[in-house]
Symmetry: C2
Subunit: 187 residues, 2 copies
């Protein structure tokens, strides 16, 4: 983990953020994207939800005293403790947050509907903060495949197609700068 400070931890691509059953805080995703998984009886991890900038993760720990899901960084991301002023969340804000997670789950379901190209396009847009023309750091093809319920080869082909059509443009990166490649997303 690469915490810049303990108050606003940063995670790089693929890092575990918290585990199911552990105790801890709830967090607001400041930037980047997070994958939430549920560990099943068979030991397998099943995607349960996604969170992007602005979303709250781990709110259930304030109810149950432990995380329900396992959180992993999909792309480089920064978190901030939630709620802001340490202590009890303001009236209803916890409820609002949980209700929001339910709405988010509906979007994730949509990532598994339709043809491969559409699905990958929807995922890219979700990660790019829902349609804003900005820059995205895409997760690994394997992660994208898990999320969309496609294979990584199919995702790779779809990303190639989006690049060819100009919807995704690899951003020029100062040479010698480390880190994953980012893309700009066209409308």
């Amino acid at each position: 983990m690469q915490e810049s400070t303990s108050a606003s931890p940063a995670f790089s691509h693929g890092e575990r953020i918290f585990e199911a059953g552990a105790a801890g805080l709830a967090w607001r995703v400041v930037s980047g994207s997070v994958r939430l998984d549920r560990r099943e009886a068979d030991g397998q991890l099943w995607l349960a939800n996604l969170a992007v900038a602005g979303d709250i993760i781990g709110a259930e720990t304030l109810v149950f005293g432990a995380y329900t899901f396992e959180a992993t960084a999909l792309s480089p991301c920064v978190l901030a403790p939630w709620p802001e002023g340490d202590g009890v969340p303001a009236d209803n804000s916890l409820l609002t947050t949980l209700a929001g997670a339910e709405r988010r789950a509906a979007k994730v379901l949509a990532l598994r509907y339709g043809q491969a190209l559409e699905r990958v396009r929807r995922l890219v847009r979700l990660l790019a903060r829902d349609g804003e023309a900005g820059s995205v750091v895409l997760p690994s093809r394997r992660e994208m495949a898990d999320i969309t319920a496609l294979t990584l080869e199919t995702v790779s082909r779809a990303v190639s197609a989006l690049r060819q059509s100009g919807e995704l443009q690899p951003q020029r990166k100062p040479r010698g700068v480390a880190g994953p490649r980012s893309f700009s997303v066209a409308a």
Copy 2:
């Protein structure tokens, strides 16, 4: 609608239970299954979640004063007002309920992963109260197709296969009794 009493309404297959934006109570699903949809900007309905016996639906109305989703009966179902003693839900029970909906959403996601036969099998088991060998009234093939992100023809073929393998057995129904056919589900 075929409300038996206003306290414990019953809905038949396909009936609307409540609409997004409307005010109303939260309900516990006593029996049957319910589909929750989110109405998108384009006017389309997107599956957001499922609820089976024991689940609570419309809990967000206690936070926002209006339903977030649109609820439709998938199979004949009976509801009861929630929480039981009318008034404010007991401490934490609303939070627990919303957190439960999040866990349920993860199961629905799993219905869109893997091959057609597996998906339909998982759906049938979910509707049969998660593995209990009991009887199920299956929703229409069209509904099952919406949920699993398959076509109704593919769902039909999968149901036929489950019947042939003995996993699903049509239950003998007293002749002349109306209503949809129910199946018993083998382990």
